[in-house]
């Protein structure tokens, strides 16, 4: 039995400590935003945040995560109340098939939290570990810039 804190909720998980976080999120906690892509930490579809920083959940065993705060797309906002990153990706219709998008969003979220003024070059560099085969890269980049704007206005109280 392991204690995991996901999206600010404590969970007791009955799984081998070697189990990748991704399997626990999807199979045990039914949090299906993070996707299984390559299983090798090479495509980025499984990216979630651990203590605010992006990790490949497919190669991160839960043994490493005791006491750490895990955040998935489900933890950003809800369908009724989407967070800035979610609103931006919807507004810009950044998804085609959408498989890579949750990973892209979490990486973007981590970047914008750490560096609210990230430049285009910094956004591109940060998203470099992520693959998208539909080719919506330009819309994804625009969505990240839009999320950046929305976060700024949210902070000044003008948003929504």
């Amino acid at each position: 039995m392991m204690n995991l804190k996901v999206n600010n909720q404590p969970y007791n998980v009955d799984a081998d400590p070697r189990t990748p976080l991704l399997y626990v999120l999807r199979d045990d906690l039914k949090l299906n935003a993070a996707k299984f892509g390559c299983g090798l930490g090479q495509c980025g579809a499984c990216t979630v945040l651990v203590d605010g920083k992006p990790v490949f959940s497919c190669v991160t065993p839960i043994a490493l995560l005791a006491g750490k705060n895990i955040t998935t797309v489900e933890g950003l906002g809800t369908a009724q109340e989407p967070a800035p990153t979610q609103r931006a990706f919807i507004e810009l219709q950044a998804a085609q098939c959408g498989y890579c998008i949750p990973g892209m969003m979490m990486r973007a979220q981590a970047l914008l939290q750490a560096n609210p003024h990230a430049s285009d070059a910094e956004i591109r560099a940060a998203l470099e570990p992520h693959l998208c085969r539909c080719g919506t890269h330009m819309r994804i980049l625009r969505a990240v810039r839009r999320a950046q704007e929305l976060m700024k206005t949210a902070q000044t109280g003008d948003a929504r």
């Binding site: 190669v59 065993p61 470099e128």
Partner: protein
């Protein structure tokens, strides 16, 4: 009276020294030329120059991540300040377009700029002086047929008095070798060719030989290994940390493909060297491998703990036992229970073993860590760099890959893992100062992604 004599002697010595230095520092300018038309060079010569430029890894310093080919501007940190590599494209104003072949040849063999000023030995003319005039001609033909780029490198940031170039004359007097090292007449042609390349154009010693307080390679410690830019450049002499002694064939495979199943994969600066070596000829890489294998001496006894008869399968059972019952951790070395490190063992079993003890051979699976020089080497730096930042995918090659774990492992976990690997997979002494090494490795820039991604990211 005595003080006066002493003063006179000191003045004389200073004047004489200054005179010698001035004489050594003075070189005439070589008249500028209009850049020769690319078509004026023999294509065969250009092709040979391209293969030689790959051996010399010109791009390693003169092409930055995201920068234009050979346009310079790459910061080269030294203990004396930062030197920026220069633009070696044939642009007349900012590159070497106005350099005649004689000027290029003089720069290679004596470290002198076209205008007569001295180059800093960050440019390894202490090695390039061994390059033949024929090869210099081919390199010149290659460089002068590259697309010219108009760009000026940032100025060097060196401490006084090194910000004055004439000071380099003293360095040259003290440290420049007078000629090529003794030839190994008894060896075969490939070995002799390898010596010519390794000691000269390939300048392997620039990273793999430790330097003295003046930044010159220690002649007495040739290929003894050194630290450069947060990475260990392993010893290439008898002190090589490889668990399985390198052979010429293994080195050839490593230099050609970027990995070798019994030694692991190139990463960090060596990954860039190997990416550039892809343009070198097979014969030259075999020659380099032959000479370097010769430096390591006679194949020593197998150093690996694997020699104690432990097989992959046995270790697999050991890992299973470890993870099933973390209270019953057995150390592998000699079957004895060493320093218990349950946390490190559990991290290895859950995070690393899946690939490093999996069913897939390299490059699709990870190396048995008992064979890894990163775990056996003199410092934890390479192991930390690779665990934190992984091994990025190299463009268009079947090299091993590994994701980085910088955000998944906290500092304590990283320290526990590294200690565990050192104790459990080698019989080498424990590393000290791991906490500081962890901090330094975390603070370092993310490893440059090889090839395509790196060149894109900087745009």
């Amino acid at each position: 009276m005595r003080a006066k004599t002493l003063a006179i002697v000191v003045c004389l010595v200073l004047a004489l020294g200054g005179g010698v230095l001035a004489f050594a520092a003075w070189h005439p300018a070589i008249a500028p030329i209009a850049p020769p038309a690319p078509a004026s060079f023999d294509p065969a010569l250009v092709k040979r120059g391209a293969a030689l430029a790959a051996v010399g890894d010109c791009a390693g310093c003169h092409t930055g991540p995201g920068g234009r080919d050979l346009a310079g501007g790459v910061a080269i940190p030294t203990p004396f300040g930062t030197v920026y590599s220069t633009n070696i494209t044939p642009d007349s104003e900012t590159g070497i377009g106005a350099w005649s072949e004689a000027a290029f040849q003089r720069a290679m063999s004596r470290g002198v700029r076209r205008d007569g000023a001295l180059l800093y030995p960050a440019f390894p003319y202490d090695h390039f002086m061994l390059v033949s005039n024929d090869d210099d001609r081919a390199l010149y033909a290659f460089l002068m047929t590259r697309p010219p780029v108009h760009t000026v490198a940032p100025g060097n940031e060196l401490r006084f008095p090194l910000n004055h170039r004439f000071v380099v004359a003293g360095w040259n007097l003290l440290f420049l070798r007078s000629g090529p090292p003794a030839a190994y007449a008894t060896h075969d042609a490939s070995f002799v060719r390898g010596e010519y390349l390794v000691e000269g154009l390939a300048h392997c010693g620039a990273c793999h030989t430790p330097r003295n307080a003046f930044g010159a390679e220690k002649a007495s410690e040739s290929f003894a290994g050194a630290t450069i830019g947060g990475w260990t450049a392993y010893a290439l002499n008898g002190a090589s940390p490889a668990a399985v002694p390198w052979t010429a064939e293994a080195l050839y495979q490593y230099l050609r493909n970027g990995f070798e199943p019994e030694h692991g994969t190139a990463r960090g600066p060596m990954a860039d060297v190997i990416a550039d070596l892809s343009g070198a000829t097979d014969n030259d890489i075999r020659a380099i491998a032959s000479y370097v294998a010769g430096q390591m001496g006679k194949a020593a006894e197998r150093k690996s703990v694997l020699q104690q008869g432990e097989s992959q399968a046995e270790r697999g059972r050991w890992v299973a036992a470890t993870s099933a019952d973390s209270q019953a951790v057995h150390h592998r070395v000699g079957g004895a229970v060493g320093n218990r490190n349950d946390e490190g063992a559990a991290i290895y079993a859950s995070t690393c073993a899946g690939c490093h003890e999996g069913p897939r051979a390299m490059p699709f699976g990870g190396i048995d860590l008992a064979l890894s020089s990163a775990v056996r080497g003199p410092s934890a730096d390479n192991l930390l760099n690779i665990v934190l930042h992984g091994v990025p995918a190299a463009a268009a090659s079947r090299r091993p890959i590994m994701p980085g774990f910088a955000n998944a492992l906290d500092d304590n976990q990283l320290g526990a893992l590294v200690r565990y690997l050192r104790a459990g997979f080698t019989d080498e002494e424990a590393w000290t100062g791991i906490e500081a090494a962890v901090q330094a490795a975390r603070g370092a820039e993310r490893e440059v992604t090889i090839g395509y991604a790196a060149r894109q990211a900087g745009e």
